[in-house]
């Protein structure tokens, strides 16, 4: 970044200056973010390719091999309370858990940004009405809200995805709205209006680009929250149903074994922890990389 800033006496054009290229270049120099990225890549890769690389069948139980400790031959991460291979189940479990993390945030990102952008750009009464309605959702803690909505919709994967989306939409709207309101007042929006551009074009070119950044960073922060909430719903029996492997659910069923084999019982929790920490650290890195003005 710095090297492109200094004037080196020649008139050669700078390297690619598109905004996302600059961000990427900065991100690459962030050690923590890169490690998080690698960790996430491993976890996501393992989840995606689980059917091909997993050592065992995730549903095959064995009464003889129940609760084997970590490091047992043939079962590197031990087995659960039904004798199923933990490594396999953790890999498969990542599929649903990551889905629980990504899908609601993505859906809420699209819905929330659209609503927030419009409310913020239009302003006035429309804005106030939208925000007050969404404030109602804010009155409840997000865990409680997710449980309540999931409970009302009934258990199941798609219902818990929907419940989580509904929990995140108001938060996304709030972030998008407040950034839009700030951006809208800036002179470059007025300059764009002076050029006779349509409201749609101004939003697309001038508002969206500047709003998307902060909202995106906020959304990446929510990924881990969503995963934990999703696991929480499964833990409470409102999300995925057994015997489907899912980290939250596995944590729940292994609870009974916590005194006999605490290390194995803690594994799904550790996965949730590592994944959400990695998401958070990566989000942090993206946040500072997007601050191009350094």
């Amino acid at each position: 970044m710095k090297t492109t800033l200094t004037f080196d006496g020649t008139l050669k054009p700078a390297p690619s200056r598109s905004f996302w290229m600059v961000v990427l270049r900065q991100l690459r120099q962030d050690r923590v973010a890169m490690i998080s990225l690698v960790v996430l890549a491993i976890i996501i890769g393992a989840a995606i390719f689980a059917p091909w690389i997993a050592p065992a069948d995730p549903f095959k139980a064995s009464m003889l091999n129940r609760l084997l400790p970590i490091g047992s031959p043939g079962h590197w991460l031990g087995t659960d309370e039904l004798g199923r291979d933990m490594l396999t189940r953790l890999m498969y479990g990542g599929r649903l858990s990551l889905l629980m993390g990504v899908v609601p945030v993505l859906a809420a990102f699209v819905i929330g940004t659209s609503i927030g952008l419009l409310a913020g750009y239009v302003g006035g009464r429309t804005n106030m009405l939208t925000m007050r309605v969404l404030d109602v959702f804010y009155a409840f803690p997000s865990v409680l809200l997710a449980v309540a909505i999931a409970g009302a919709l009934g258990p199941g994967m798609s219902n818990s995805l929907m419940a989580l989306t509904l929990v995140f939409v108001p938060q996304m709207v709030r972030v998008a709205e407040s950034v839009t309101t700030q951006v809208r007042r800036l002179d470059y929006i007025e300059a764009a209006r002076m050029s006779g551009a349509s409201a749609f074009s101004i939003i697309r070119v001038h508002v969206l680009g500047n709003v998307l950044g902060p909202v995106f960073v906020y959304a990446t922060g929510l990924l881990s929250v969503s995963m934990i909430l999703g696991s929480g719903l499964s833990f409470l029996g409102l999300g995925v149903k057994p015997p489907e492997p899912e980290w939250g659910l596995m944590l729940n069923t292994l609870r009974s074994a916590i005194f006999r084999n605490p290390w194995v019982a803690a594994l799904p929790g550790a996965m949730i922890f590592i994944t959400s920490i990695a998401f958070n650290l990566l989000a942090d890195g993206v946040r500072s990389a997007m601050d191009v003005r350094r």
Binding site: D187, Y188, E190, A192, M194, S195, A197, N210
Partner: protein
């Protein structure tokens, strides 16, 4: 270069319709009151009298300077003219045609004829766009192809003194304040406007850069037959660049006229106070005491009669009874002033004395 620019312009709309004698812009009775939110139970609605019925004309090819203290309504006036804000009342006549009126010039066409350069060079550029993208945006919106718009942006950059090869793909934060302001000027010129509003356009620049930008503005004005509305609180700059000056106080015009007359024979006590506050180059000549005391009154409840009377050393009973009208100053052509001392019929004791000056 400049003829090339004009050829390039597919949106040329700058035919001089009204002839040289027709003022480019006539502003009549422009008003903007901002409602002030009182408490929930407060019955009476209050208003800030930001711009309170001002009239003026901008002659073709000239530069009209608007000066005054902060909060006197200069920038609001600019935004009202640019229609970035809806005025509460008032009409604009652009080259003989009513803006947005039946049979007049349409708002969209008017906007294209008028561009604005803002004070904050950073806030007026989108931080996510390269400067080429910023300048090309407007022409692109008006139907040029991306290639044409980029070409035009590069030509404009070259014209304002920024080497396109080197600057086109830079982001605003990689430029200095003066360079950013050049970009803003280039963007304003992208439409071949006839009127450019410069809202404190050089105020944030340091002196040497300010001089460069001012000279650039003078050159561009001659090349493109531009008319400037130059809003500033820097009286030196106004003296240098403007042909006419309009002095505002609390949302109203107190004095208006050719720049040399205003600077040489200011008729309004406020203008005189303002001019005496200008720092002198001669240290022996330094201002020893404050020419004015106190702050401008609250614009929510401006004083009755003359708005300046509370700070005016010449204030008399008549000043609180009636508001002085903006009338021609005695013996000076094209010089208008709103002061009872200028009007022999007003009953102000200094009236006859003043008009004899």
């Amino acid at each position: 270069m400049s003829s090339n620019l004009t050829d390039m312009n597919a949106m040329d709309d700058s035919a001089d319709r009204g002839g040289p004698a027709q003022p480019l812009l006539i502003v009549r009775n422009l008003k903007k009151y901002f409602p002030v939110r009182g408490g929930l139970l407060e019955r009476e609605k209050k208003f800030v009298h930001a711009v309170d019925g001002i009239n003026f004309t901008v002659a073709k090819g000239k530069t009209l300077g608007i000066v005054g203290e902060s909060g006197c309504g200069k920038s609001t006036t600019a935004r009202l003219i640019a229609r970035l804000m809806e005025p509460d009342s008032g009409t604009l006549i652009f080259d003989g045609e009513g803006v947005g009126e039946f049979g007049g010039i349409e708002l969209k066409a008017f906007r294209r004829n008028l561009q604005m350069v803002f004070q904050d060079s950073f806030a007026s550029l989108n931080p996510r766009l390269t400067i080429q993208e910023t300048i090309a945006y407007g022409p692109r919106e008006h139907g040029l192809t991306q290639a044409q718009a980029n070409e035009r942006a590069r030509q404009l950059l070259a014209r304002v003194g920024l080497e396109p090869e080197q600057f086109a793909s830079r982001y605003p934060h990689e430029l200095s304040g003066g360079q950013r302001q050049r970009v803003n000027i280039a963007r304003a010129l992208a439409f071949n406007p006839r009127l450019v509003i410069l809202d404190e356009a050089v105020a944030a620049l340091d002196k040497s850069v300010q001089a460069q930008v001012l000279n650039l503005l003078q050159e561009l004005k001659a090349e493109h037959q531009l008319t400037y509305l130059f809003i500033s609180h820097d009286l030196h700059v106004v003296h240098y660049i403007c042909d006419d000056v309009m002095v505002m106080y609390l949302g109203q015009v107190v004095e208006m006229g050719p720049v040399e007359q205003i600077y040489g024979q200011a008729a309004h006590p406020y203008t005189r106070a303002l001019l005496s506050a200008v720092p002198s180059m001669d240290p022996a000549n330094r201002t020893q005491k404050s020419p004015l005391s106190g702050d401008p009154p609250n614009p929510i409840n401006p004083p009755a009669g003359c708005r300046f009377r509370e700070r005016c050393v010449h204030a008399e009973a008549v000043c609180s009874e009636r508001a002085p009208a903006l009338v021609p100053a005695a013996q000076l052509s094209g010089h208008l002033v709103a002061c009872h001392m200028n009007d022999a019929a007003s009953g102000h004791t200094a009236a006859t004395l003043e008009s004899a000056v």
